[in-house]
């Protein structure tokens, strides 16, 4: 009965909220979003290299395709960085860093690589970006007590990815 009274008060006067805070619903953290975004960056680099190699009779169409590849590369590089920042900021705790002291440097490296893959079309930088986020994923799953496996992504560019071995 009290609940219904307070619920009515809340509807009328909008009671202040006290947050039992988790930025996103508790437990829903997964580095796979960052991994796929990084993979997309390499895919865009490959598509750009292919388009360039094939040559182009229709310049406008070529520019249009390139613009789209670049836009997706930009978007996904930033998305990968964002997803890593969310896990770093909201999930990783001092005890995780204590156990994996390389984590701080690794996150810093991911941020730098995420910027570099936007500035260039250097495939090796893209591969380094994917691998750095793979290493981040491996540490993340270790903190969850979940074993990981490495397997090739079932889509182009079919790079090796770290997956939870569920």
């Amino acid at each position: 009965m009290f609940y219904q009274i307070f619920e009515a008060l809340d509807r009328k006067f909008s009671v202040e909220r006290a947050q039992a805070h988790c930025d996103i619903p508790c437990g829903i953290y997964d580095p796979i979003t960052a991994q796929i975004a990084a993979l997309t960056v390499v895919r865009m680099m490959d598509l750009m290299a292919d388009a360039e190699a094939k040559g182009h009779d229709n310049h406008a169409a070529f520019i249009n395709s390139m613009a789209r590849y670049i836009a997706v590369k930009e978007e996904h590089a930033e998305k990968a960085k964002h997803e890593v920042r969310v896990i770093w900021g909201d999930y990783i705790k001092p005890e995780h860093v204590e156990k994996h002291p390389e984590l701080t440097e690794l996150v810093f490296k991911i941020m730098k690589l995420g910027s570099k893959v936007r500035q260039t079309v250097d495939r090796q930088t893209g591969l380094d970006f994917v691998e750095a986020i793979n290493q981040f994923a491996a540490i993340f799953w270790e903190t969850k007590g979940v074993a990981v496996k490495r397997a090739k992504a079932p889509y182009a560019p079919a790079l090796e990815m770290v997956y939870p071995n569920l």
């Binding site: 202040e16 909220r17 039992a20």
Partner: protein
């Protein structure tokens, strides 16, 4: 003196769940007598009004160390001790959302 608040988030689940109401006492009389296990509401400059469990009282620092029940809870493990001046109230009455 007393205030009504509604809980959001699940970092205190299953003790306190999304949609529960709490009545807090804001009187210094209550806030100066905090003990381990008390549920408090406090203000954080970045995250706003938070509700957590007092894990221990730190008299020398005039602060408390707070935790949640969830592994992913944002609490003193990341925020550090919560100063007494940031504490807005202590929960006196918990009105759980009925299970439908």
């Amino acid at each position: 003196m007393f205030r009504l608040l509604k809980v959001t988030g699940e970092s205190l689940s299953p003790l306190y769940k999304e949609g529960d109401f709490v009545v807090i006492a804001t009187l210094p009389f209550f806030l100066r007598r905090l003990r381990q296990g008390d549920i408090i509401v406090f203000q954080h400059s970045l995250y706003g009004t938070l509700i957590k469990i007092v894990e221990r009282v730190l008299p020398a620092e005039d602060a408390v160390y707070v935790i949640g029940t969830s592994e992913e809870s944002l609490d003193s493990r990341r925020l550090g001790p919560i100063s007494q001046s940031a504490i807005k109230g202590k929960v006196l009455w918990h009105i759980a959302k009925p299970n439908n």
